[in-house]
Symmetry: C2
Subunit: 414 residues, 2 copies
Amino acid sequence: MRGWRLGVAAELEVVPGGVTAAAGFLAGAARCGLRKPGDPRPDLALVVSEGPAAAAGVFTRNRVQAAPVQVTREHLRRGRLRAVVANAGVANACTGERGLADARRMAAVAAESLGLAGPEEVAVASTGVIGAYLPLERVAAGIREAASRLGREGGAEAALAITTTDTRPKEWAVRLELEGRPVTVGGMAKGAGMIHPDLATMLCFLTTDADVAPAALREALARAVDRSFNMVTVDGDTSTNDCVLALASGAAGNPPLLPGTASFDRFAAALTGVCVALAREIARDGEGATRLIEVTVRGARDEGDARRAARTVAASNLVKAAVHGADANWGRILAALGRSGAAFDPSQVSVRLGGLVLVAGGCGAAFDEAEARSLLQRDEVRLVIDLGAGTAEATAWGCDLTADYVKINASYRS
Amino acid sequence: MRGWRLGVAAELEVVPGGVTAAAGFLAGAARCGLRKPGDPRPDLALVVSEGPAAAAGVFTRNRVQAAPVQVTREHLRRGRLRAVVANAGVANACTGERGLADARRMAAVAAESLGLAGPEEVAVASTGVIGAYLPLERVAAGIREAASRLGREGGAEAALAITTTDTRPKEWAVRLELEGRPVTVGGMAKGAGMIHPDLATMLCFLTTDADVAPAALREALARAVDRSFNMVTVDGDTSTNDCVLALASGAAGNPPLLPGTASFDRFAAALTGVCVALAREIARDGEGATRLIEVTVRGARDEGDARRAARTVAASNLVKAAVHGADANWGRILAALGRSGAAFDPSQVSVRLGGLVLVAGGCGAAFDEAEARSLLQRDEVRLVIDLGAGTAEATAWGCDLTADYVKINASYRS
């Protein structure tokens, strides 16, 4: 699975598809008028497990939590789900009691349309403008329509239905063998602006046919999110609606995965691989972005420091603007490291851009400016920083800051 | 003194001038070739006290500290200074041992040119590109030239000499009466990008003719900086070079100011007033900015929460871009509050834009969009947030985020 620095040893085969790549999952989408007039994209998605599925979720840590987040947290308590219903256009956040009732109604209509036992088998997710109410009639019609279109081939439409300012849908799937059985892990995600460590307006729905109990799935998901979505940053703002859900159908027929075993670690690595791939897609598709920035910090005192340092550099407006201008302004990288909270001696720091040494011993190296410029003009810009303070390492992803980011965000709502 | 919310009761008369408004201070500037060719601004400034002056300083908390910051910290140990030498163009940061030697040499040349007892009577400050070495011959010539031009009228040129991406120099001065004696407090500052709580690439030099001992001056300065420069944010990046210095000549002849007295509090309020005025100028002049954003948070559990919440809203890229687009996107304000770390119940939050209620009880109010738009198009945009969680209050300042910010920062170095 390409050269991502996952810090995990896993032989993963990338396979086509996303949220319906794993056995036992269907998806469908509909267009029910939640977007601006003229926007041709579907705006409502359903992901459905053909049988009971173990489920786990990770949610925004923002103190302001949208109604669908609150409702989905409740529905996840049993660790089992049958379906996810998600819409774009309206976030159903900051909508008070009416918003909560609307989110519950979405789950109820989905449960009805799918012939499930009850609304608590359905997770709800919304993304879009904060503060507006959902047009419930249209949403209900959309849910029924999406339910009538469910299929294995519905994943791509579902991935499109959850996009907002994204310029493209984001899907990924991998296959591995666990105790002689082929197991698939796939997923779809949306998110472009407001992406930041601790999640942000991003949604991600993961599915697998592995047999894994809810508690073990929670553990694998926490590990995967920590290394992927919690290390991606577009603009420092976190959202009220973020949610990563994982559903496991068990259709692969593997012996149930138990934490502490090699098979579980390999499964968690596959889940991490899909999440990192989707997180990179989100960073690359940051609002107005033209480049993916990958920041690896090595030689940190501990993992916390490595994560803090990598995320601070990837999130720095000045670093992002310099990358956009293809300017190897390494002073901004050192300044960002210096305020990150990570412990280090500035005279021990080195910084590499791809293979080019920009900083050694805390001072500027004599590098070729033209080569630096050409490395900064690539689609993927890789910075490797060594703090010289220990052995811990972490990687964060971000994107360049462009005039288009400002244009998009000065006019998103109105 | 206009309607700034300083939280202090002080009758201050605004007077012309800046760093030489107080008795006993002279300033001079020179152009010695540290800027890009064609830039007509002077690039070297001297501020000189005619006699010994009490001195205090506050410095960047960035772990990477420029050579002049390290040298000035040493020179400040005795709490006395006679002069400040500052240059623009080259930050002398990340320059190792050679940079330290260069900063010491700047102090030595200034001491020589001014006939002082030694270099430890001189503070050094630099701002500009990180990682470049100072052209010492030119700097020394500039110091000598500036020393030959010292005068009371030199403050304006000095204020211009320390600017970088600033669009205008920043000076401010006030007068008050302390125990029957007129006392003046004035200052100059620079800083446009990389401004953030805990300081950033900003320099500020304050002077007063008040008689105040070094320890008391330190206390007054700490109070002033906490309410002003530590509450202004342009882009979240902090710098390696920030420094706020205060010099007190004692020429006013007032009885020495002692902490805990009413006179000391009035003096500290005046110093705070000048710092707030300069901090607001810095925010208003943020790179590419067209508007000043003032965020007051009330009803916080404690002052720490109020400060955190105000700074997080003022620093949010999404809020800043929405203000630029004159879009009353209050959801972004709530999302920023929610990740600020401040404790509150979302259903108790209200948000006002000028006199217009945008949010009440955590939900959107029925406000007039046209009126909101017109309020957001003013030079100064005032947001007042009530968290409904207590009685503490704080104010932060920022600016809108524009496409010009990106342009400026994509091409600053090259």
